[in-house]
Symmetry: C2
């Protein structure tokens, strides 16, 4: 068995991957979230770990949009990781000497106020992952990166400041994806994608079906349908617990354009 993750070594996805699979499982790093998911679609790996939502920045749109475009993939597990972002560099530079700051757009966004207050004049450089910024910065003078503490030893860097995120309640939710649907006996949530028909009350009528059948909606995310402004796909999490959801799904067919179950799995309680 081979599993894929948003690499290189030292990303938060890698941390989940290490905790989730034994030593003997081959772990393959990919350069972007999109590539990670596409290599699962192409059967290069059996499962992948990707970030889906952060408590400060919201949904990871690259993950959702790639899942929307690839129909055969299933969420089989959810994991939550407490995130600490850290500023590192090749040497112990003073802040005023740092000319460039490298990181993943999500990590940069989580530290937006910190950067504004401490490194206002540095150029911000986007990298496809946090650990890749560490790898880059390990070869550059007067540059810093924002990443997981694991990168300190992995890339032989010096810590300039720890825990620099704008809010201490920084958690990221990850999904384990697979092509094979697993029979998870204690599954208590389904994640579903649907579009609405273009008429008044369309979204309300879809949500009414869940409510009338005693199914609680715990999350709704809208993503552009990429047709025109104002047309959306909706991604919802529905608590199923032990309830039947076959009948509501039948009813749903009449009110939505299409729907797709992205997974039936157990919600993570770790925080």
């Amino acid at each position: 068995m081979k599993v894929g993750y948003l690499g290189p070594k030292g990303t938060f996805s890698y941390e989940i991957c290490k905790n989730s699979y034994g030593e003997e499982i081959e772990k393959i790093p990919y350069k972007t979230i999109k590539e990670t998911i596409l290599e699962l679609q192409n059967d290069e790996v059996s499962e992948v770990i990707v970030p889906i939502e952060n408590s400060l920045q919201g949904c990871v749109t690259e993950t959702i949009d790639t899942l929307i475009e690839n129909e055969n993939l299933k969420i089989v597990e959810e994991r939550i990781l407490k995130i600490n972002q850290n500023l590192m560099a090749k040497e112990k530079y003073n802040f005023e000497d740092i000319q460039e700051v490298y990181s993943h757009p999500q990590a940069l966004a989580q530290c937006r106020n910190y950067l504004q207050n401490n490194l206002k004049n540095a150029t911000i450089i986007e990298t496809p992952s946090t650990a890749l910024s560490a790898k880059e910065v390990s070869k550059k003078e007067f540059s810093a990166c924002i990443c997981n503490l694991e990168c300190l030893s992995e890339y032989n860097l010096k810590l300039l400041e720890a825990n620099i995120q704008d809010n201490s309640l920084n958690e990221t939710k990850f999904w384990k994806l697979s092509k094979l649907e697993k029979d998870i006996t204690d599954a208590n949530v389904i994640t579903m994608l649907f579009s609405t028909k273009h008429k008044p009350g369309a979204l309300y009528n879809a949500l009414k079906i869940f409510n009338d059948n005693g199914l609680n909606l715990t999350k709704i995310e809208s993503r552009p349908a990429k047709t025109k402004l104002g047309e959306y796909y909706f991604l919802v999490d529905i608590e199923i617990n032990n309830k039947s959801y076959e009948k509501p799904l039948e009813e749903l067919k009449d009110v939505v354009g299409f729907y797709r179950i992205l997974g039936k799995y157990k919600k993570s309680n770790e925080t």
Copy 2:
């Protein structure tokens, strides 16, 4: 009167600003969306133009999150602009010679496939606006930027390729914000922010009030409440047309944690 926009000259926000105000109005460029909105909050300008949503990339989270944190600002107008992204540089370089590509994260995301297919090995550098990437690139060898066609002459650049966005249906919605609520007689939409109480059916019960009062929900966006994963603010657009919405707002008080009207304005029909 002074108005602010996400600058410098040549951004899409600048284009809306030019079309929206006469020559005699002083237009002040700011470096980030957040700064633009905060300078309105600080009374440095009377109105500002900011992007709020793109048909390919979805909501501009920096705009929403800054609006959530600043309570006195009102949406007074909506404008929609067709967006074409273009690749430019100081000279007519071959693609394989381009080492860096500069642009705003939204523009980069709109051209993600194009970049992957044509400039896979170039370093991606995030700038606070599209036009700022043009300004930077006008001083750099072997670098390219992605921006509005207006930047060609503004920064004396050469066009490498026009219309490089991944999908031709690329439109951005902008809001004009003010501290003064305007009495817009043909207003047909309200945008509202609310949180839900933490109990089953909470979001459904809020949406039910609008539906039961004949008010159609045309958009819902969830943003993290920045407390913990799974807690959200909801931003909704409600078509009011000539209907009264005072009674439903009264009812809403009983089911939501808080609510705030962000504006009552006329929907743009331009596409």
